[in-house]
Subunit: 243 residues, 2 copies
Amino acid sequence: MPKRVQPRSPDGMQLGGLLVFGLLANSYIVPLVKMERIPRATVNRLPLYLRALESLPSDQGTVSSRELAELIKENSAKVRKDLSFLGTYGVRGVGYNVENLRFRIRRDLGLTRIWPVIIVGAGNLGSALAKYGGFDASGFTIVGIYDNDPEKIGTTIGNLTVRSMGSLRRDAQERNVEIGMITTPVPAAQQVAEQLADAGFKSILNFAPMVLRVSPEVEIRRVDLSTELQILGYYVQQSLAEG
Amino acid sequence: MPKRVQPRSPDGMQLGGLLVFGLLANSYIVPLVKMERIPRATVNRLPLYLRALESLPSDQGTVSSRELAELIKENSAKVRKDLSFLGTYGVRGVGYNVENLRFRIRRDLGLTRIWPVIIVGAGNLGSALAKYGGFDASGFTIVGIYDNDPEKIGTTIGNLTVRSMGSLRRDAQERNVEIGMITTPVPAAQQVAEQLADAGFKSILNFAPMVLRVSPEVEIRRVDLSTELQILGYYVQQSLAEG
DNA sequence: AGGTGTGAAACAGTTCACAGCC
DNA sequence: GGCTGTGAACTGTTTCACACCT
């Protein structure tokens, strides 16, 4: 018998990670239950669901967990569990409303706004990312690229001009940038990470093949190609060993 | 009281995923226990351990689990558990032999050889990867880059000439290439994946922002920048909500 | 004393299976 | 009949805590 906290109960509203139940007579806000966070594993799949939903024909009104599961190569039970964490209502016997679900996921991912992002490191990879047009479609826009090489500063990449590290802090604060990508060589990466943390960045996408160490309130994700290849290598070797 | 199978027991040897105990008098090989696989979570960390080990000063003979833990930002219990799956012996009160541990991890990851890798998609990202020198240090070497755009075929990127998709299959088989990276736009990616699978590739590193569907014996890893940003976005938003 | 190896506990994530609603 | 929502079971991963070795 379902006894869990009702997301969106009649007089409850979700607010900043707390489930708040009503304003009492004397104006106390009473947080009854700490709202359960969406599990990390689920958060990691939300972008995939969103993409799947966006790939559906525009006249498709509803979608079943099985359909979604096929699109992201998972099973339908997982999809249903995941979506249940959003407090989204599917309709039994019918499925999920595509439009509504898309909206919910966009909202939970914070995609109701466009996030400005900067790149530090104007080498091959940084330049390629600066020119890559695909971010805008996902809700992000590259607003700056930085380097400390005087040869590179002032040059143009895509529609951006490479700027000096010295101007990073002020630029970022002016434009409210909170997400940065590090595409420098390894020796520079740690220092850059500290500069970003210092400038108030909240999250970092790190392409330098190393583990960065900054204060834990900065969320860091690593995109580590060598590591990915080595992991693939393990499984290739494994498949050989098994014949 | 430890009663687990002894890795590297005096008369046992590890062979193709089986722990084989001794050759009996009449030449029967007796596989007593199916060798426990290294857990995925551990495999994913092996490249990090390797890098950490390689970053140690060359005169450092041993390393403790705590030291390694700091280098990869994990805790020491996890490090010890992970390393125990390799059947590696640390020495109580001392730590792990750096040289030996490095060798074991390289061997388990299959890095005793250099793996040839090809890239499909000679756009910004593919070109940047082709020029990126960092793979060689990790045991991989880019031996070809492919595209189906006649404008690109024949042009030079780094020290590679872009070749046509038509030559992929034969090239790969001649050179025994089993790992491919897909850096094409989304619409081409699925078809390319099928071509790779068909040409006998064992694993694919997919940079196209979509979920590929090929037969399950092909190991696929996704490097999905938009998705990474969206995940970061979630946590940035979350941190705002909490104040 | 210092540090590994590892059962056992705790936690996280996945899958099952089915009641309940359309 | 179809499909969601979700407890419960299960599987995988992390952490604890301590016996044991050097």
